[in-house]
């Protein structure tokens, strides 16, 4: 990839405005930085991302455990799940804006509604796979309902939650940026949209490259967290569902 950028740098013509050379991207980013726009935008995007992902993990794993452990709930909501998971985020934005206006809770709602699916589905199938003997163990030792949830079920599905989070994290980042671009409320996406509407190509490329780097870092962090729990339960590092 680096090689490609070098070639681009060498062969890009300064006369064509659509393909500015990489050095120009950096200069544009530096200019944004000094004008004080870059840092707040990055902070907003990252905190929206982190908040949305955290909320998705909580909602996805709680619902996943409930659906995975209750045949009744699963039968009731199964069809709705098939519908909901295929709903494109872009289509939700106008509805969400109508209901909640151009606010950051609107961003959060749209992002969470798209990104909790892989966590929910993985957790649900993880919860369905918990062995009967393990559940009976909880009953025989007379653990309370609450003890069973957090001492048996939750740790049993932790690897599934983690797998779902790995799938959800990049999606979450993409949807945050998408909503920012569409609604221009705040964040890096808003900067990209504004620069683009003024036909300034160098900052657009610079910002897009920046989001790429953020995506890489996120992926790296998540797989690092994966290694932590692999140690805790080497037997459970298998099986997944999208």
């Amino acid at each position: 990839m680096g090689f490609g950028l070098v070639l681009w740098q060498i062969f890009a013509s300064p006369d064509v405005p659509y393909f500015p050379p990489p050095i120009e991207w950096l200069r544009a980013l530096a200019a944004l930085w000094t004008s004080g726009k870059l840092v707040p935008a990055v902070v907003v995007t990252l905190s929206d991302f982190a908040g949305a992902l955290a909320l998705s993990i909580v909602i996805g794993s709680v619902l996943g455990i409930l659906l995975g452990r209750s045949k009744l709930l699963d039968r009731l909501f199964g069809p709705a799940l098939e519908f909901g998971r295929t709903m494109p985020a872009g289509a939700m934005v106008p509805v969400a804006v109508l209901i909640m206006g151009y606010t950051s809770s609107m961003t959060l709602a749209v992002v969470v509604l798209t990104s909790f699916w892989p966590i929910l589905l993985n957790t649900r199938s993880g919860a369905q796979r918990i062995s009967q003997d393990r559940l009976d163990t909880a009953r025989v030792l007379r653990l309370s309902w609450w003890e069973t949830q957090y001492k048996i079920l939750l740790p049993s599905v932790l690897p599934s939650i983690q797998l779902g989070t790995r799938t959800a994290a990049p999606v979450t980042l993409i949807i945050v940026l998408l909503v920012e671009i569409l609604t221009q409320v705040s964040g890096i996406g808003r900067e990209i949209a504004m620069q683009q509407s003024m036909f300034r190509s160098a900052p657009v490329y610079g910002l897009v490259a920046l989001t790429g780097v953020m995506g890489l870092i996120v992926n790296w962090l998540i797989s690092w967290a994966g290694h932590l729990t692999r140690k805790y339960d080497p037997s459970a590092a298998n099986g997944s569902e999208q």
Binding site: D133, R134, R139, V140, E147, K151, I152
Partner: protein, 268 residues
């Protein structure tokens, strides 16, 4: 565990016990009209061919499966509805039953956490681990232990709640012959010192004869008690001497015949 009531006190009683399993069309009777009384401190082994309903019966005893409405099932004089206080199940599949994210000690602790203070808990856990000879491995995770050691952790977890009744479903079925024989001796010794009543399921006639004070063979579809014999072996058991004694050989002979008459060539 209560000594005052003596040898003859009943630990466990069932009368006209029937069990149905399956849903809708597939529902059928697995166990029919079974009467059984188990005195305190008895070591009872249940034998029977595969699929006869041994696991089902034990799960009913443990309150994990319901019997039919008119069945009578009592532990220490109290009706069994749901897993009763004072009875603990030991599963054949120790790998599924132990929690892989907890050390041996923390696994043994699991049944005590809500009911016992931390200090008392530590003491009981340590004692239970010592009973199964795993004091040195308290801080190991299950996957760092051999199969036999893992099964001993499960046994310690059961002992830690100081049960009146241990329900064991082929607990040594997945272990090699050597480990198995050692654990049989240990279990017999633990049962003698703790005074727990044990109901132990096995496929293995030798295992049953070696361990039991009393042996029951289940037979039929639906299942009921085929034979019910008392052992005349001394309370202390030893892998070599016990198995050479005439009482052992005689009992083994009787039980083998009872088992193989049903299954046409008692294997295993």
């Amino acid at each position: 565990m209560t000594d005052s009531s003596g040898e003859s006190a009943l630990a466990f009683r069932c009368r006209a016990l029937s069990v149905d399993l399956g849903v809708g069309e597939a529902r059928r009777r697995i166990i029919e009209d079974l009467d059984l009384e188990v005195p305190r401190r008895q070591f009872l082994c249940i034998l029977g061919e595969s699929g006869v309903g041994k696991t089902t019966l034990l799960r009913v005893f443990g309150g994990l499966v319901d019997a039919t409405a008119d069945s009578v099932l009592e532990l220490n004089g109290e009706r069994v509805v749901g897993p009763p206080q004072g009875a603990v199940f030991v599963f054949q599949n120790y790998a599924a039953s132990l929690l892989p994210w907890r050390t041996a000690r923390r696994n043994v602790e699991l049944g005590l956490e809500a009911t016992t203070s931390k200090a008392a808990r530590q003491q009981r856990v340590t004692a239970a681990l010592r009973q199964v000879d795993l004091a040195d491995h308290a801080d190991d995770y299950p996957w760092q232990l051999s199969g036999g050691m893992q099964q001993r952790v499960q046994l310690a977890r059961a002992l830690a709640v100081e049960p009146d009744l241990l329900l064991m479903d082929e607990p040594f079925g997945a272990l090699d012959a050597m480990t198995r024989e050692n654990l049989q001796v240990e279990l017999r010794r633990i049962q003698q010192t703790s005074g727990a009543t044990v109901i132990f399921i096995t496929h293995d006639v030798d295992e049953a004869v070696f361990l039991a004070d009393r042996i029951i063979v289940l037979k039929g579809k639906p299942a009921s008690i085929g034979i019910d014999v008392m052992s005349r072996l001394p309370a202390e058991r030893d892998q070599v001497r016990t198995k050479e004694s005439p009482e052992y050989l005689e009992l083994r002979h009787r039980v083998y015949e009872a088992v193989s008459r049903r299954s046409g060539g008692g294997k295993e």
